[in-house]
Amino acid sequence: MKIFDIAASAMTAQSQRLNVVASNLANADSASGPDGKAYRAKQVVFSTQNMGGPENAGVRVTGVIEDPSPMKRQFEPNHPMADASGYVTMPNVSVVEEMVNMISASRSYQNNVEAMNTAKTLLAKTLTIGQ
């Protein structure tokens, strides 16, 4: 039974997505990073992973991309990172979107846990055949 592998791959992918959401939320106000620039929101890219046969489709994260949407510009002349006209470049993290993303990832994770638990129960039941 490949259900365990399939559900586990999806759970790994979803928890990676949760990690990225946590990074984005944590850095929603980071005006400066290691490279001196404001933080850019990250997004994971999911793709189907063949696990032997068309009926066994797992998931994997093929990459983490940077959100191409424009950075937020905030007028704060007293900020140390402000440019000549008094604007500070802030991360392009949308907190509302990230919260929605987090809920979606956590629900998908739960769905896969459920699938795995059901598969476990069925296997245990299979062992009782003939008893």
């Binding site: 490949k2 399939i6 009926e55 066994n56 797992g58 979606s104 990832a105 998908s108 896969n112 039941k125």
Partner: protein
């Protein structure tokens, strides 16, 4: 195929297909957020009819070794609410089918167990 095999064959084939279908549905649930993934499923009734017809045909042609069970034809689920990223997994449908398949799998096991008990009772007298 002897009488004992014949008795257990139906539930054996049905269990095999149920477990395969469980995998297909688990794949759908796993790929609920994958862009471009199309939900798959197969027609259980026709797949079971094929699987049961197969050993009988092999027996008729005189083949001693049991032929491998035919793979059910995987179809794409018709979609009611398509999403922008090309994914066609409808979680409500998948969860309902998953639960239904689980129940059928368990009932198959119960049936199989009862058949075995029945034969044991007949042997012991």
């Amino acid at each position: 195929m002897n009488k004992l095999d014949e008795l257990l064959n139906y539930n054996h084939q049905a269990l095999n297909l149920r477990s395969q279908r469980q995998q297909v549905l688990a794949s759908n649930i796993a790929n609920a957020d994958t862009p471009g993934y199309k939900a798959r499923d197969f027609d259980f009734q026709s797949a079971l009819a094929n699987a049961i017809a197969q050993p009988a045909a092999a027996q008729a042609s005189g083949g001693a070794a049991p032929a491998p069970a035919p793979q059910p034809e995987l179809l794409y689920r018709s979609v009611l609410q398509p999403s922008v990223d090309g994914n066609t997994v409808d979680m409500d449908v998948e969860r309902a089918q998953f639960a239904e398949n689980t129940l059928h799998y368990e009932s198959n096991i119960t049936m199989l167990t009862h058949h075995i008990r029945m034969m044991l009772a007949a042997i012991r007298g």
